[in-house]
């Protein structure tokens, strides 16, 4: 691991003022410290922001929920308001990582964990994300593609964003508050995470030195919701495919609102807007859901070896919406 200096910031403003190229913000460290140990990340200055941003969850005047960037994942999932009004979010957080890691990992750190694949984590391999222009081992013949992207990828990068929480926040339409050298701004989700295009080294739209201070949830959408995660073992594994879904139907049985976000399929949490549109105003039936899922997944471009994800994502949408329908 590269040697680094350590700064503990007492406020977001102090953290930003301490930032300079080559520095990294440290939250819980569950991803960053691991990447530093692997040699994938090599900051020469680490700015500890665990005391710089809020660690409280508060209700706002307009029915929104404000979640401090430093809130630990376990505290988020266990908060009474989240458990009661945003079960989709609680389920997603509880489905991620282990009890130990959820106790350390922060909300902002979860969002900003790297989009990654095994070749990104192996410094002996070429990787456009780790070393721009060096190539992509994940698209080389014989590569292990089982958990790579099927949507929105480019020849430069086929890695996936592994967060469960971010998938739920994408379905819920969260707003991410950031501050930085050029002031503050608010970024709507989806919109924080990028697709790889020709610059896979950038996972998010954040500029150097920008720091997440808060995640704001709008009032919960009407309807029923669910988070379903398919993985290779029952616990403590990344999703092969996950789905955050919200479905609202009228007394006539027609779909009034539908929100779908997929995890494990792309470089960013994937809001399935074509599938959502494909359900609106139609009867909440398996036929409707199957057609809508097809609308989304006809854009899928699986790699040799991960074709199963297309079927899995389609079946997940149909099954979960079927359970949410009246």
């Amino acid at each position: 691991m590269r040697a680094f200096s350590y700064v503990r910031a007492a406020s977001a403003a102090e953290a930003v003022s301490q930032y300079r190229p080559g520095a990294a913000y440290l939250g819980g460290g569950t991803n960053l410290v691991d990447l530093m140990r692997l040699g994938v990340a090599a900051p020469d200055r680490v700015i500890d922001v665990t005391r710089a941003t809020g660690d409280a969850i508060t209700e706002g005047g307009a029915g929104e929920l404000r979640i401090g960037a430093g809130v630990r994942n376990s505290d988020l999932a266990n908060h009474p308001i989240v458990r009661e009004r945003y079960p989709l979010l609680a389920r997603a957080v509880l489905g991620g990582a282990s009890g130990q890691i959820r106790n350390i990992a922060t909300v902002a750190g979860n969002l900003l964990q790297r989009t990654r694949c095994p070749y990104f984590q192996d410094v002996a391999m070429p990787c456009n994300k780790r070393v721009p222009g060096s190539g992509c081992q994940a698209t080389a013949p014989g590569a292990e593609t089982g958990n790579m992207a099927i949507l929105g990828h480019t020849p430069f990068c086929v890695a996936t964003h592994p967060s469960d929480m971010a998938v739920a926040l994408t379905a819920l339409g969260a707003h991410v508050h950031v501050t930085g050298p050029d002031g503050g701004r608010v970024i709507a989700m989806p919109g924080l995470h990028r697709l790889p295009d020709g610059m896979p080294e950038r996972d998010t739209v954040l500029n150097p030195g920008e720091l997440i201070t808060e995640v704001e949830l709008p009032p919960p959408p009407p309807g029923r919701s669910a988070y379903r995660k398919v993985r290779e073992r029952a616990s403590f594994a990344f999703a092969l495919v996950s789905l955050a879904a919200v479905l609202d139907t009228g007394p006539d049985g027609l779909v009034r609102d539908c929100r779908l976000a997929l995890g494990g399929v792309a470089h960013a949490p994937w809001r399935a807007q074509a599938a959502e549109r494909g359900t609106l105003g139609l009867p909440a039936t398996p036929e409707t859901f199957a057609r809508a899922a097809g609308e989304e997944l006809r854009h899928a471009r699986p790699l040799p070896g991960n074709e199963y994800k297309v079927t899995l994502a389609r079946n997940l949408i149909v099954a979960v919406l079927g359970e949410l329908a009246p």
């Binding site: 350590y6 440290l26 410290v33 530093m36 140990r37 500890d48 266990n78 009890g99 029952a234």
Partner: protein, 174 residues
């Protein structure tokens, strides 16, 4: 000029303040094992995936391998060496012995600290049906909550049993 890359930190380890000079790269795990001679906490994977290094940091279970010591100046750390009360073993330690909850023993310190932290953690888990209620610690709940601790000997059946006995009270149902 860049700031220094070493720091002086004081961690409260098993109730005692321990001041030491460290390289900023040092994990809490390496500090415990290499600087303080507390080798109960084990280094399994050093990536947060196996749980052998689990300790209680400010009362909450955490992977000591992912925790930078410099970021935990002033923190309260409890390791497996601090679970017993003098000669009196922690109820989890007693239960692990009584129910044969280990074979080689390498993962056991992490299992014990993780279980101690887990028993104090309220709220639902990924397998809880009703998110608004605090569920009983059934074997299924214990397995899910302990999934961050691997046992390569496969002693899981008796680990779950031992934790269940403690969760249900002395001599209670597993």
């Amino acid at each position: 000029m860049e700031n220094t890359q070493v720091s002086r930190v004081t961690l409260i380890v098993n109730g005692e303040p321990r001041a030491t000079m460290i390289d900023n790269r040092m994990s809490v795990l390496d500090l415990l094992r290499e600087k303080l001679g507390l080798t109960g906490s084990k280094k399994g994977c050093d990536h947060g995936q196996c749980g052998a290094c689990t300790v209680l940091i400010d009362g909450r279970r955490a992977n000591a391998c992912l925790a930078l010591a410099v970021a935990h100046d002033g923190a309260d750390i409890r390791t497996v060496e601090g679970l017993a009360d003098g000669a009196m073993l922690h109820p989890l330690q007693e239960a692990f012995i009584r129910h044969d909850a280990f074979q080689c023993g390498y993962c056991t310190p992490g299992q014990l600290c993780s279980a101690a932290g887990m028993l104090a953690e309220p709220g639902p888990s990924a397998v809880t049906d009703d998110l608004t209620a605090d569920p009983a610690l059934t074997p299924g709940e214990i397995r899910e909550r302990m999934s961050g601790n691997l046992c390569r000997c496969g002693a899981y059946v008796n680990i779950v049993k031992a934790i269940g006995v403690v969760a249900g009270g002395e001599g209670g149902p597993a």
